[in-house]
């Protein structure tokens, strides 16, 4: 299949299967983009997700642009982004035009309650995977950083942008210090 068409269709599928925020997209992205297509690595996805939180715009869109760009340059980034928004355009237009009471329908409410449980489980699996590759194998300073950011975000509600910038400075400090040690040893 033509690469651009493949990008568009794959991201349309991902957009159509994203229930909730950008985080809900991660398990699907992992399956489609990392496992099935091999367009980027899991580390790449984590990077895109973090950068997507501090660049303007919707995270799902930012991630789609990143992956598309990596695979097929600037046109790839644009095609993947159009793919990820296509299902919303169709579904929302139909609902806005014909199903004004959609969100009040008891079946819809129950179905989404169940979907949210499934999303929680899928995100749990993603977090376990990411913990193994990005945190547990990387030594004590990394583990400490993980715990600090988790606590600051969940308990103190500090903004993601502030935390990402702080983590980059931390990484710069520790990363270069470790590198210097290796060079002098």
């Amino acid at each position: 299949m033509n690469l651009y068409l493949d990008l568009f269709c794959t991201f349309a599928r991902i957009g159509g299967l994203t229930f909730g925020g950008g985080y809900a997209m991660l398990p699907i992205l992992e399956k489609e983009v990392v496992e099935n297509k091999g367009w980027c690595s899991e580390e790449d996805l984590t990077d895109y997700y973090a950068i997507g939180q501090c660049t303007p715009g919707v995270i799902a869109v930012n991630t789609a642009t990143f992956v598309g760009e990596k695979k097929a340059g600037k046109p790839g980034g644009i095609v993947a982004t159009l793919g990820v928004v296509a299902p919303s355009l169709v579904i929302i237009t139909v609902i806005a035009a014909f199903l004004r009471n959609f969100a009040d329908n008891p079946y819809v409410i129950h179905a989404f309650s169940g979907i949210r449980v499934a999303v929680t489980v899928l995100v749990l699996n993603t977090v376990i995977k990411l913990l193994k590759s990005n945190v547990l194998k990387k030594g004590l300073p990394t583990l400490i950083l993980f715990c600090l950011v988790l606590a600051a975000s969940f308990f103190l509600g500090i903004s993601s942008i502030a935390l990402v910038v702080a983590a980059m400075i931390w990484g710069l400090f520790f990363g270069l210090a470790i590198h210097k040690k290796e060079v002098s040893a």
Partner: protein
């Protein structure tokens, strides 16, 4: 020239709303006041629909507002307006990253970024857990046992086991199973 105005308003939202779909909400509230395209009550309905349909919430909101304001062309223009700034910025950042991917400084920065990103996702997970399995009102009134949503927890256990046994299955199958269980057991 409502289409041009729609594009511009959503371009602004896409440029300044940082950190996920619901970050667009304050901008949309302001838009409702300054343009009169939709009321605050309509906006709440749009949030409800955007949260209970597939697709990124911010994109759903833009499509909904655009459609309400100017029909199908409005839906398309508003959505394009929302995504244009972030596409431009991400393409610039991606180009920058490619150019400096071998730099030690960039590698060190990512060494801090990855665990932090993992922690942010883990924090989202914790809030999902609280939202889906915990009832604070019942906890205040009747204590721990009543506060836990047992049906939801049981479903989560079954789905988790399913993802471990059927590792090759597409995640969408588990979402579908969740939806079916939600309807059958009135979650």
């Amino acid at each position: 020239m409502i289409l041009l105005r729609l594009f511009f308003e959503f371009f602004k939202t896409g440029l300044f709303a940082i950190g996920g779909g619901l970050a667009t909400l304050p901008f949309l509230r302001e838009m409702s006041e300054t343009t009169g395209w939709f009321t605050q009550t309509e906006l709440l309905d749009m949030v409800a629909v955007s949260e209970s349909t597939p697709g990124p919430i911010g994109v759903n909101m833009a499509t909904y507002v655009g459609f309400t304001t100017a029909g199908i062309p409005g839906a398309v223009i508003a959505t394009l307006g929302l995504i244009t700034p972030s596409v431009i910025i991400v393409l610039i950042v991606a180009g920058f990253l490619k150019r400096f991917k071998d730099s030690k400084v960039v590698a060190a920065v990512f060494g801090g970024l990855r665990p932090a990103s993992t922690a942010l996702i883990a924090a989202v997970l914790l809030s999902l857990v609280v939202m889906n399995f915990w009832n604070q009102t019942l906890f205040d009134a009747q204590g721990l046992f009543a506060a836990l949503k047992w049906k939801h927890l049981l479903l989560a256990g079954v789905i988790f086991a399913g993802t471990k046994v059927f590792k090759k299955w597409h995640p969408a199958i588990f979402l579908l199973a969740g939806a079916a269980a939600g309807i059958v057991f009135s979650l």
